[in-house]
């Protein structure tokens, strides 16, 4: 105990405090949790609650000021507008398309990594898949802009066939770029899920006469489903909330764009009301994903 005596009286005071605290488990817990919970409660949940509360305030039609009186005007405006409904459906459709694309692209590579590749190859592939996750999100979107823009790589590849490139005003661009951005988020959970399947189960299946096809369908696939669901939480929710990708590569509006465009103080009730859409969709989605066992595979 000699080494801790260097600090003199100050150190001994802190030690006395620590000794006094030692048997008081409840107080310890309180001290541990107070600051993180205050932080997340005040800085995040508090702000979010105030924002969402705005959805129920009235906007004065003449001055454009927000009046804190209960009304469902903002929701009524959203419900009556064809445009806002189209945007919800477009965003949902995109989230589904991106998720399916990433499952189709990600499953084979995850399967190869988990069950076919040698240890060394697996390690290299894992790093190769993880590396782009650390690279800047914006830079990756920008790289696609460079490829897709007029006279870019895609244009010059398509030119010999007499096809013009899509330019930067095509919704399919968003589909490609979003699938690209979230692909590693799908590969990693599926890889982890497939790696966890015990070899003995597969041997048992083949001992009982199961050929490769049926074994895959009836043993591997059901066991991999929770991992796919876990990956889909990322691909789905990240697509649902993105507003930068559609702006940068396809000039179309998604849910995030509507929220962003209405974020100035005057139209906050509308943005807040629209925010309920992704929140409700995500809560429902998380509920379904939990039923599929996704949370154990995260």
């Amino acid at each position: 105990m000699t080494s801790s005596g260097i600090g003199g009286s100050q150190a001994s005071a802190s030690r006395r405090l620590a000794a006094w605290l030692h048997p008081r488990r409840r107080l310890q817990l309180g001290l541990l949790l107070t600051s993180p919970l205050l932080w997340i409660g005040l800085a995040y949940l508090g702000s979010l609650a105030i924002l969402l509360l705005n959805a129920f305030w009235r906007t004065d039609p003449f001055s454009g000021k927000i009046i804190p009186e209960f009304s469902l005007d903002a929701f009524a405006k959203l419900a009556s507008s064809e445009v806002y409904r189209t945007i919800v459906l477009r965003t949902l459709g995109m989230a589904v398309a991106v998720t399916l694309t990433d499952v189709l692209l990600g499953f084979p590579i995850a399967y190869y990594m988990a069950r076919v590749a040698s240890r060394r190859t697996r390690r290299i592939l894992l790093i190769a898949v993880l590396l782009p996750l650390w690279a800047s999100y914006l830079v990756k979107i920008y790289a696609w802009r460079v490829i897709l823009q007029g006279h870019g790589l895609l244009d010059s590849v398509l030119a010999p066939f007499g096809i013009a490139g899509p330019g930067l005003n095509e919704i399919l661009n968003s589909w490609v770029v979003l699938s690209y951005l979230w692909l590693p988020y799908m590969i990693v959970p599926i890889f982890t899920g497939l790696e966890r399947i015990p070899e003995s189960l597969l041997e048992a299946s083949s001992d009982l006469g199961g050929k490769a096809g049926p074994t895959f369908r009836r043993v591997v696939l059901p066991l991999a489903l929770p991992a796919v669901a876990a990956g889909s939480i990322f691909t789905f929710s990240l697509t649902l909330g993105d507003y930068i990708t559609p702006t940068m590569v396809s000039g179309t509006k998604f849910i995030g764009n509507v929220i962003y465009d209405n974020s100035s103080l005057g139209s906050l009730p509308l943005a807040a009301a629209y925010s309920f859409v992704p929140i409700v969709i995500m809560v429902v989605y998380l509920f379904i994903a939990r039923r599929l066992g996704a949370f154990e595979s995260l």
Binding site: M1, S14, L21, R25, L29, L33, S35, P36, L37, W39, I40, G41, Y44, L45, S47, L48, I50, L51, L105, P108, Y112, L125, L126, I127, A128, V129, L130, P132, W134, A135, S136, L138, V139, Y142, A143, W144, V146, G152, L153, S156, Y180, L183, P184, I187, T192, A212, T215, F216, S237, G241, Y243, I244, G256, I259, S263, L268, S275, P278, I279, L286
Partner: protein, 269 residues
Amino acid sequence: MTESRWVRIALRAMTTLALAFIYLPIIVLAIYAFNDSRSQVWPPGQVTGFSLRWFGEAISNERVVDAFITSIAAATGATLLALVLGTLAALGVARHRFFGREAVSFMLVLPIALPGVLTGIALAATFKTLGVDFGLATIIVGHATFCVVIAYNNVVARLRRLPRSTEEASADLGADTWQTFRRVLLPGIRTALLSGGLLAFALSFDEVIVTNFTAGPGTETIPLWIFSAIQRPREVPVVNVVALALIVLSVVPVYIAERVSGAESAVVR
């Protein structure tokens, strides 16, 4: 089960295809960074060849350098805040039993589960209402909301695997709570703090969605600079260089994480 030869060939082809898809944009970007002319026409280099010209321009561009410093400062601040708060919460959840323990994890996960636009707008509106000046401090607050869960996840996972017996032994041998924390717990969670910190730093460093709302007019991070510079054709060659630099820099945390605890530790993201 061993896959048949054809299945293996098909899998290998699909894997190659997926990797090509993942790396194609990065390679294209890297080639453009060395393009001497301002032209963005493919193939680059056809006007005046290749050069390192724009690398020099990037380094001497004051706005880029300032933005880089701001990004480093913001990421450092957010990471430190996240490590302290995340570790406190992790110790509470992993070493105590109490009502509402699940709710703590759920609350901490919310900032990354819900769209970033919401975090951004909500924080900006709150700052405005409270009369807080926008700048580095507000950027750090914004980033720390979603960085806390990263630190928390890493530390809580480690604490669950660490045997409690060493902490009990330390207490039995007369160490008080603080000594046990410093000499037994801290060395045990050190690598978790490192990998959680790296991840939080990387996330904060390239965050643009929340930062867009919390930076205010006078402050610029590297992603914010890229976001505004791509709309100015004059700056596009410098954007290419900065983008390539960011991609090369992203190798650093992957390398450290790989060294610290094997490839699996980097999977957490």
